[in-house]
Symmetry: C2
Subunit: 222 residues, 2 copies
């Protein structure tokens, strides 16, 4: 890696937002250094300095210059390395559709999942129904294609597949199965997991589940 390509990722293993960046970098075959943040112990000075507005991971440092917000970072990676495994369509309209769905995922999935693991009883039933509704809307965007990117794994696939790393936890706490509720989405998940860029980045679902168990304790649930 030349000095011009010195990429460092301020990272946290359980963050689906960090996973997006790692999947995109892997798709592009770009080497980078991961610097794990201790989000429960205390954020590094580097994180606070490079993302003063949100103080959140991921931050991609490109020769020291910070790029923040995961969606934006993945777009940047595509923008900087467009030739290898292009993630965005070649037409402006296709790109606008990809940005739209990436933004929809950003606004809905993580918060929808949080409503599941934070609630109980009737509230949980509503949260689960809402979450499945979100996935069904998303499923609709795929049409009859294999990927959100059409015939190939693309930008929206990167953005979405990272979020599924928490689904096992949602399923356990919500007592449901994504692949039963949204079979097409379930097939798409399996298809994505066949890619090295995805399988090498997504952690063991059981580890994420244990992380959510800890988060629930921290929030005084159970």
């Amino acid at each position: 890696m030349s000095k011009d390509d010195e990429l460092r990722l301020l990272d946290f293993w359980a963050s689906p937002f960090c996973m997006r960046v790692k999947i995109a970098l892997s798709e592009k075959g770009v080497a980078y250094e991961s610097q794990q943040e201790d989000l429960f112990g205390g954020k590094s000075d580097m994180l606070l300095k490079s993302n003063p507005i949100y103080e959140k991971v991921p931050v991609l440092l490109d020769n020291g210059k910070p790029i923040v917000e995961s969606n934006n970072i993945v777009y940047y990676i595509e923008d900087k390395y467009p030739s290898t495994n292009p993630l965005l369509p070649s037409c402006a309209y296709g790109r606008s559709r990809a940005r739209f769905w990436a933004d929809f995922i950003d606004k809905k999935i993580f918060e929808g999942g949080m409503c599941i693991w934070k609630s109980k009883g009737e509230e949980l039933e509503i949260a689960k129904k809402d979450f499945i509704e979100i996935l069904k809307k998303l499923e609709g965007a795929m049409g009859d294609k294999d990927f959100f990117g059409g015939d190939n794994f693309g930008y929206v696939d990167v953005i979405a597949i990272a979020m599924t790393s928490w689904f096992h936890a949602y399923e356990v706490f919500g007592d449901f199965k994504v692949e039963q509720e949204c079979p097409k989405f379930g097939c798409w998940m399996k298809r994505c997991l066949e890619r090295e860029s995805v399988s090498s980045v997504l952690p063991d679902p059981e580890k994420i589940y244990q992380c959510v168990v800890m988060l629930r304790k921290m929030h005084g649930i159970e």
Copy 2:
């Protein structure tokens, strides 16, 4: 306008999100047809059909193909017409910064303003303080340049200046002056208003104020 460039905007005169799109189209010198939606009376079938996820204006129909979410539409306009008055920097890093600040504005300004016109007493004081804090953060992004786009009016300027169309209403209900609290931001607003693309699109602040008076009544405030 050739058939290939048939642009129709599902529009609402008081929406700052629609104003963004109109400013961008004006910067590009692209002709379009505005179709006013009656948001209080009932949304058109065309709006419901072309934006089934959010059912909101603006929608830009490019030969019938819908592009939704204002930020995304402005990006699309730049993507489709990059040569005339380029709105984005020529480097990937600059573009990532522009996307970041556009997203920050989207997440903070309109909601921050709504907290002002919806609240009273102590709540109002907090809302006002938070709003000024947001503007100060935004001001910081301009550095010592004339525009968010640097020396030239650019993408973030388009996204931000449209939001200022509601500032007079915030100032009246919050009893403060943006140009006193954030002088640099105030100067930037005046600078933008000198542009034909902006002054021709932004409505009379008094009309927006009357619109907010009506919204307050609808929400049972005062």
